[in-house]
């Protein structure tokens, strides 16, 4: 409900007109009801604002959902979805595309491929070392992430300062300013399939969060369930990052907030994370495009809102932490 109201309000806000009644008329006319509409407004609502609003909702849901899942699977409430190197992989992919002078579409494909490739390499290390524990996977993620940061640093170093470097930095701060309906269609199937699977597995994710030993004594096919869960969560993050650039904090703070509201049981906290992530991102992106005459990069806002929020959450839970 809150989400739908948020979507409507956000559709109403923008540089052209801030009148919700005009937007309501546009929507009503689309539903076949005869009301006076402003033709420019129709174009703005459906071609400019709607794709962007939907994108922010989906991306917020994706990041928050995969953060919630990662935190449970890795038994650590301080983990964010780029633990296994998705974000750094995507950043390297996007930067490579920028350096080659490729267009937006290529950049997105590269970012997605880079993110998935990074997770794949991360998952390869424990297999090579014949130690499939979670800890090994986390350490492997740190290694891959660290290595990719250096690769990214080299790319920034050789990038041409005025154009390419600026593009890389801007990409890394995250933005939905140039979102198109086409891109939305590209990530929608990933979102639907992965989030359905994760919602279905939410109770099994509780069991994964007990650790390997307990999960195995409960007869859970650990490798299978954990593989599905990690692949889904990584696909979600990689898809989100590929069209919006890296956006910090959402995947860390929102699952935390959700657990505080619903308790730790993932059958409740995962759907709530998904919804709150969507609402949070919608709010952030609406601020990003309305607060000033220039677009504010998303990571700047998520940091300004997310970090104090996180501090507040910690304050509320201070007695529980030892």
């Amino acid at each position: 409900m809150l989400l739908l109201m948020g979507i409507f309000l956000s559709l109403s806000l923008g540089r052209y007109s801030n009148d919700p009644s005009k937007v309501l008329n546009v929507i009503l006319s689309r539903l076949g009801i005869n009301v006076p509409v402003d033709p420019v407004m129709i174009s703005i609502v459906f071609n400019i604002r709607l794709p962007r609003v939907l994108a922010s909702v989906i991306i917020g849901a994706m990041l928050s959902l995969s953060g919630a899942v990662y935190q449970s699977v890795f038994r650590n409430p301080l983990v964010s979805p780029d633990l296994l190197g998705v974000s750094s992989g995507a950043a390297v992919g996007a930067s490579a595309a920028i350096l080659m002078g490729a267009g937006l579409a290529t950049r997105q494909v590269f970012a997605f491929a880079g993110g998935i490739l990074a997770v794949f390499v991360t998952s390869l290390v424990p297999r090579l070392l014949r130690n499939r524990s979670n800890m090994m996977l986390v350490l492997s993620g740190i290694i891959v992430g660290g290595f990719l940061s250096s690769v990214l640093a080299i790319m920034k170093f050789i990038a041409e300062e005025q154009t390419q470097l600026a593009s890389i930095v801007y990409w890394q701060l995250g933005s939905l300013a140039s979102i198109l309906g086409r891109e939305l269609w590209a990530i929608l199937p990933v979102f639907l399939v992965c989030s359905t699977l994760l919602l279905l597995l939410s109770w099994r994710i509780n069991i994964l969060s007990f650790g390997d030993l307990e999960a195995r004594t409960l007869g859970v096919n650990l490798r299978q369930v954990r593989t599905i869960v990690i692949i889904c969560a990584s696909l979600l993050t990689a898809s989100a990052v590929s069209i919006s650039g890296t956006i910090g904090w959402v995947g860390l703070v929102i699952p935390h907030l959700s657990r505080l509201l619903t308790g730790s049981d993932n059958t409740r906290s995962i759907p709530v994370s998904l919804l709150l992530g969507a609402i949070f991102m919608l709010l952030i992106d609406t601020l990003a495009r309305t607060v000033s005459t220039v677009e504010i990069p998303l990571s700047i806002l998520t940091g300004f809102v997310g970090a104090p929020l996180y501090a507040l959450l910690l304050y509320k839970q201070r007695t529980r932490l030892e």
Binding site: R204, F210, L213, T217, L218, V220, R320
Partner: protein, 260 residues
């Protein structure tokens, strides 16, 4: 009729060369308690983990109701065997009920979630353990003794017939140790088979249990305690003089150390 659990010539090694234990054979029937005894580091927990299929043995086999465990799906093993680890390491503050309801996992399909009947089963298990009042408490904020009971309640909710316990009294004060032993006794009277590891040979006598001993030379002994527990074996195994004496007034044998 097959034994609940039958261990045949079991051997284990972590690296394939250094043998931790070998030639271990014994059986557990419903309603029986078996205590695994042995000096530190001899492989008691490793043996227990082999029985729970947490580790693959190097030699030999473990039969569950007559079926080789290696051929069973993990889910089917978990329908028979419940495992109570020495310590739980909670990472999120699930309520006790949310935790115990996960005992239903081997009875649910992968994408299935527990329904009202599964929550009822979990509540019944809590009631059986006498800890219904803890149901809505976060399991991160109850005492170690209560956590042990919660863990056993989950094995009951799991409908396990055989409960494996790794040092169930390790982190408990003396009163709670005796309460847990009492509980184990009750469970065996209800027909559960129980295998537990312990550092205290007196617990074998308290529980009137069978003893499975890996001694200091890694030789395996198994039988009713009356048949295999001797002062010689206990003293040699632990490397200190130990006595087995009948104590008047409590009508039982005790394993006890003479003055130091």
């Amino acid at each position: 009729m097959h034994s609940l659990l039958q261990v045949k010539d079991l051997g284990f090694s972590y690296d394939g060369s250094r043998q931790i234990f070998k030639d271990i054979s014994f059986e557990v029937q419903s309603g029986e308690i078996v205590c695994l005894l042995g000096p530190n580091g001899i492989g008691k927990t490793t043996l227990l983990n082999c029985l729970a299929r947490l580790r693959e043995p190097l030699q030999g086999s473990v039969l569950l109701n007559g079926e080789d465990m290696a051929d069973l799906a993990p889910r089917n093993v978990a329908r028979v065997i419940g495992y109570v680890p020495q310590t739980l390491l909670p990472s999120f503050d699930y309520t006790v009920l949310e935790y115990v309801v996960t005992g239903n996992a081997p009875w649910l399909a992968t994408f299935e979630k527990p329904g009202p009947e599964h929550y009822q089963r979990a509540e019944a298990a809590l009631e059986q353990m006498g800890i219904s009042h803890l149901a809505q408490k976060p399991y991160t904020r109850i005492s170690t003794g209560e956590l042990q009971q919660v863990s056993i309640a989950r094995a009951i909710a799991q409908k396990a017939r055989l409960i494996l316990m790794d040092e169930p009294t390790a982190h408990l004060d003396y009163g709670n140790q005796l309460k847990v032993l009492r509980l184990i006794k009750d469970l065996s009277a209800k027909g559960y088979g129980i295998v537990l590891t312990t550092h205290n040979p007196d617990q074998v006598l308290l529980l009137d249990a069978k003893a499975a001993i890996i001694d200091h030379q890694s030789i395996f002994h198994f039988g009713a305690w009356q048949d295999i527990l001797t002062e010689e074996l206990l003293s040699a195994m632990y490397g200190v003089p130990l006595r087995l004496i009948e104590v008047e007034g409590i009508d039982r044998m005790v394993s006890i150390a003479p003055s130091l």
